[in-house]
């Protein structure tokens, strides 16, 4: 038995996983499709609070998940199974995987049999209970290696704990008004293996290093909490010296944390933002637009949500009423607005294949203000009659994937960002995203900002706290009259979707933009 799971376990078990998916599973009666995902990870994590250590440890994961489509009684249905594994499972991995496939298969067959009965029982209402199918993708056999300088497996716990304590002390030393702070970080190597019954066999390893900083300040106008995330698909080197690559924003951890603390102190001394009577001019910075594009473009562009599969949880999308009634090809925004999801470029949502073996590609959501394309999975693509575009991803191999954003962002425009402020007689400059609340079909939003500045005669003036933008999505996009050249992309590490909820990582971003909205205070 292996003493300890490492990502190297994938080399050892890869032939067995492929054999179970392409041999054992295919021999089961009625089997239409089987895929098996295995994930192994290793690295380190630590947390400090108020300049003192709170915990550190090695981080290791090992798990697998199975999807089956199987026929029974004249209908086809899906079944799933997921399990966390340990070192003790490695010697018996074939048996463990076969048991998992068998559970998924039994569930799929039982569900298919019942589906066939319900189809007959409910007449016209039963007709939409279809035979599950997946849009075809080419078979891929590939191995992709991670990019990093400092190997997460070789990182010393003492070293990162010491750095986190230093950062936490520096945050606490920013001002006597800082009452509490916490800083946590992880650095991991994650290795995903995907094997399907049609022959795909993809081994993808990537580095993931991220940190969270939380600051609690007691200012002149009351307490204020701010938190933010930093990270990228690299090693610990990005926390020590930052990562500067065109549009990717990943400062070194010390600068990142102390900047946030200084921002919190300044804002906690500011008055609360007065709510406007109606729409006013708002200029939003790239960090704010990171959450805006996430909530108002990315989420409604997920095809599982648009097809009502999330109506009870994460909601629907105003971009699709039914298969024949969508916003595809319609003007939903100013011609200045362009937005895409692109997993092929650098960012926290970068990957070569999604979790069902579909190669990544750029997906145009909004081009010249016209809605073009949803992010999809093989299942949802088949229903809509389009090609899969690589959006099906899970948090962990044991979890069932969902349609997820990749690197989803507003494309840059042609205006100098400072000109977008200079041209404003009176308005507000909205800086840094904080907390979102979005309507059920993403048709309306209120997203709070870290800071809001009043603009008077083209100059930034009074700073306000606890401010937000509130608007109907289409109105907001239609009124965009300026898009900056200053495109930036940030990591979003906690996007909740699914049941059980999966908090997924992705990249989001955009340039400075200008539009009209109501500004809302406490």
């Amino acid at each position: 038995m292996a003493d300890r799971v490492s990502i190297d376990v994938i080399d050892r078990i890869r032939p067995t996983v492929a054999q179970v998916a392409q041999g054992y599973a295919k021999r089961l009666a009625g089997m239409q499709h089987c895929d098996i995902r295995v994930e192994a990870s290793e690295g380190v994590g630590a947390y400090a609070e108020n300049g003192t250590p709170k915990g550190s440890g090695e981080e290791r994961g090992f798990s697998f998940g199975v999807r089956v489509l199987a026929e029974q009684g004249g209908a086809v249905a899906p079944g799933y199974y997921g399990k966390s594994l340990g070192a003790a499972d490695v010697d018996n991995i074939g048996k463990t995987l076969r048991e998992g496939v068998r559970h998924a298969y039994d569930r799929a067959r039982a569900s298919a049999a019942h589906k066939a009965t319900s189809r007959g029982r409910f007449g016209r209402l039963g007709e939409s209970l279809y035979d599950s199918a997946l849009a075809s993708v080419d078979v891929h056999v590939d191995t992709i290696n991670a990019v990093y300088e400092q190997d997460p497996r070789q990182l010393s716990l003492e070293k990162i704990m010491g750095q986190l304590i230093d950062v936490s002390k520096a945050v606490g030393g920013t001002s006597s008004k800082v009452r509490y702070n916490g800083t946590g970080a992880t650095s991991l190597l994650i290795r995903d293996l995907f094997c399907s019954s049609n022959g795909s066999n993809i081994d993808h390893t990537y580095a993931q290093t991220e940190a969270i900083v939380f600051v609690m300040v007691n200012g002149d106008t009351g307490p204020l909490e701010l938190y933010d995330f930093n990270g990228h698909h690299r090693g610990w080197e990005i926390m020590e010296r930052g990562y500067d690559h065109q549009y990717v924003v990943a400062p070194d951890l010390m600068s990142f944390a102390t900047d946030l603390a200084q921002q919190a102190v300044a804002t906690a001394n500011a008055p609360p933002l007065p709510t406007s009577d109606g729409d006013v001019t708002v200029v939003t910075d790239p960090h704010y637009n990171t959450l805006l594009v996430h909530e108002i473009v990315g989420h409604p562009s997920e095809l599982d949500r648009a097809m009502k599969m999330e109506a009870g949880y994460a909601g629907r999308s105003w971009l699709l009423n039914s298969i024949n009634d969508t916003q595809i090809g319609k003007q939903i925004a100013s011609p200045l607005v362009n937005a895409v999801s692109d997993a092929t470029i650098e960012g926290y949502g970068n990957f070569p294949y999604d979790h069902e073996g579909t190669p990544a590609r750029r997906v145009w959501h909004i081009r010249g203000g016209i809605f073009e394309e949803f992010l999809n999975s093989r299942q949802t693509a088949e229903i809509l009659g389009v090609a899969p575009n690589g959006g099906y991803r899970a948090n962990d191999a044991a979890m069932v994937p969902l349609v997820r954003m990749t690197n989803t962002f507003f494309l840059p425009g042609e205006s100098a960002p400072e000109d977008l402020v200079k041209d404003v007689e009176h308005g507000y400059y909205v800086k840094g995203h904080r907390i979102p609340s979005i309507a059920e079909s993403r048709e309306n939003f209120r997203i709070s900002a870290n800071q809001v500045y009043e603009i008077n005669h083209g100059e930034l003036g009074q700073l306000y706290r606890d401010g937000a933008i509130q608007a109907d999505s289409k109105d907001y996009f239609t009124h965009v009259d300026g898009v900056g050249t200053d495109f930036k992309m940030y990591p979003i590490p906690n996007c909740g979707k699914g049941q059980p909820m999966q908090a997924k990582r992705m990249g989001n971003g955009g340039p400075t933009m200008r539009s009209m909205a109501k500004v809302v205070g406490p």
């Binding site: 440890g57 589906k115 209970l129 204020l224 059920e440 059980p500």
Partner: protein
């Protein structure tokens, strides 16, 4: 799942081994085996769908150690775990990880002290049938909800009237989404500082459904929470469908302040997203509660009482012991409007007792209010439930009971509101300016009505208003509390809130989303 006897034996062997390790001062052993069995449901009458979309499960088992090592002051404490194995090999691996990761946390006092005679609050309370669910049973639980919903659609005269003919009913855009969830949890716990091995088994079943008639812009909700398989009726989907049909044809309302009755789901959403995070001891520790310095003081209407109770037999979120081995029990949080207690685990309770700022944070000396900060909520939840070996205990509510010093029937709540709104389901309820400020915002997505002259009038059209208000204002503006509580769950929450309807003096409402109806 691993049998309880195996978990117990694993703890005994681990404790015996750890007592022989020279650098170990003290250790706690936690072994668990969990399964989250779940069918996600997805039916749409005009888009191809599976009905039972995801019959699935998530299983895990393993061992976790909290260890205090020799090495001076502050104490050197570490955590380590191993998945998929509970043998001595796994214990050695977990111990090695704990040793490598150990830190000197100046606020750590000790591992939990269970006393001379550790006890469980309740025993043999779980349903064995839930613990032995087959793949076929799991699938059939999901189909019971789907079929019940389709029955409700098929027998609806309203749908037939709207569609004009039976063949056209699917064109109305009928939707069901939701789930049936069965949680199966087994744990065993012991330590080097006592001779007891405590075990616990818990299981629960929940179902949450949302139904829509899209062409009528209407949405309804249904749910069921239980501790026994035999009590599961699979009716949440039909309830949601009936509620959706009942709420069709709603009206918009303009911006303004409205008196409201909040139904069980909005009450639960506010409790889950705003109140419970605000009454955890750790939140006070971080100066982040909107009720800083208010322990023992009034924070809400005298009508309101709220308590957490993890030892109520027959309640879905009950447990015999916490995941620290301590007895579960009742923690009064708000009594007649006063903040009287906070949710805590062993670590948080111990550190606040040492905290020089404790009196300023709480408003009282915690040493004089030990019962108010009793560590009765130390659980290792995650991944949609479960009691997981691979994490330190956090603080998780259990059964949260909303009570009133005077409760009244629903009709009386409507009478007190007079003219206003009945809010039955809210969405994306977040503390928009952080927990400390208690500001919140959300939208109203269904199950809601306009109240006129103390009676329910026409439905409020879903997704047409946003609420922008503050938790403190809501808590202090309570007009009345209903006399019927419904066990209620919200997405991704661990606790079960037993929520009544509550009438509130004023909520600030903004009209939204007009472009979806006007097309511009």
């Amino acid at each position: 799942m691993l049998p309880l006897a195996k978990l117990k034996r694993a703890v005994q062997e681990a404790v015996a081994y750890l007592r022989t390790v020279p650098d170990v001062i003290e250790a706690e052993v936690f072994v668990s085996s969990n399964a989250n069995l779940l069918t996600r449901l997805s039916y749409t009458s005009n888009i191809p769908s599976n009905g039972v979309e995801e019959p699935k499960s998530l299983e895990s088992d393993g061992i976790g150690l909290r260890v205090v090592f020799k090495g001076g002051s502050p104490l050197l404490v570490g955590f380590g775990s191993e998945s998929g194995d509970v043998s001595l090999t796994a214990v050695r691996e977990a111990l090695d990880k704990a040793r490598k990761g150990a830190v000197r946390d100046p606020e750590f006092v000790s591992l939990p002290r269970l006393g001379d005679r550790p006890r469980k609050s309740i025993s043999n309370y779980h349903d064995r049938k839930l613990m032995h669910l087959t793949d076929r049973q799991l699938v059939e639980l999901g189909w019971a909800v789907v079929d019940g919903t389709l029955d409700a659609f098929q027998s609806s005269e309203e749908l037939l009237e709207w569609a004009k003919s039976p063949d056209a009913i699917p064109d109305l855009g009928l939707i069901l989404t939701g789930d049936v969830i069965v949680l199966q949890e087994r744990i065993a716990l012991g330590g080097t500082h006592h001779d007891h091995v405590l075990t616990d088994e818990s299981a629960l079943i929940t179902s949450m459904s949302t139904s829509m008639v899209e062409q009528q812009f209407t949405k309804g909700t249904g749910w069921q929470v239980g501790a026994r398989l035999d009590e599961f009726q699979g009716t949440s989907g039909a309830e949601a469908a009936r509620n959706a049909i009942r709420a069709a044809g709603g009206s918009r309302v303009p911006d303004g302040e409205y008196r409201v009755v909040l139904g069980p789901q909005p009450v639960t959403d506010l409790i889950n997203n705003l109140l419970l995070p605000s009454v955890q001891l750790g939140t006070f520790q971080a100066w982040a509660s909107p009720f800083e310095g208010k322990l023992g003081k009034r924070i809400a209407s005298p009508l309101l009482s709220v308590y957490d109770h993890g030892a109520l037999r027959g309640h879905a979120a009950s447990k015999g012991i916490t995941d620290e081995g301590l007895p579960t029990g009742r923690t009064d949080l708000i009594r007649n409007g006063r903040l009287v207690g906070l949710l805590s685990n062993w670590y948080e309770t111990q550190r606040i007792l040492k905290d020089p700022d404790a009196k300023e944070k709480l408003g009282v000396d915690p040493a004089k209010r030990r019962k108010a900060i009793a560590p009765q909520n130390g659980f290792r939840t995650g991944l949609g439930g479960g009691r997981h070996f691979d994490r330190d205990p956090g603080v998780t509510p259990t059964n949260v009971i909303i009570d009133g010093s005077e409760t009244v029937p629903s009709e009386e709540l409507l009478r007190r509101v007079g003219n206003g709104l009945y809010i039955g389901r809210i969405w994306y309820t977040y503390p928009i300016n952080g927990i400390t400020q208690a500001d919140f915002t959300c939208t109203v997505i269904g199950d809601s009505y306009i109240i006129r002259d103390g009676r329910i009038a026409e439905p409020l059209r879903p997704n047409t208003v946003r609420i922008n208000d503050n938790l403190r204002r809501v808590l202090n503006g309570i007009l009345g509390i209903g006399d019927t509580r419904k066990p209620t769950i919200v997405w991704s929450a661990d606790e079960m809130v037993h929520a009544p309807e509550i009438a509130v003096e004023a909520l600030h409402i903004n009209e939204i989303g007009e472009f979806l109806e006007t097309g511009s």
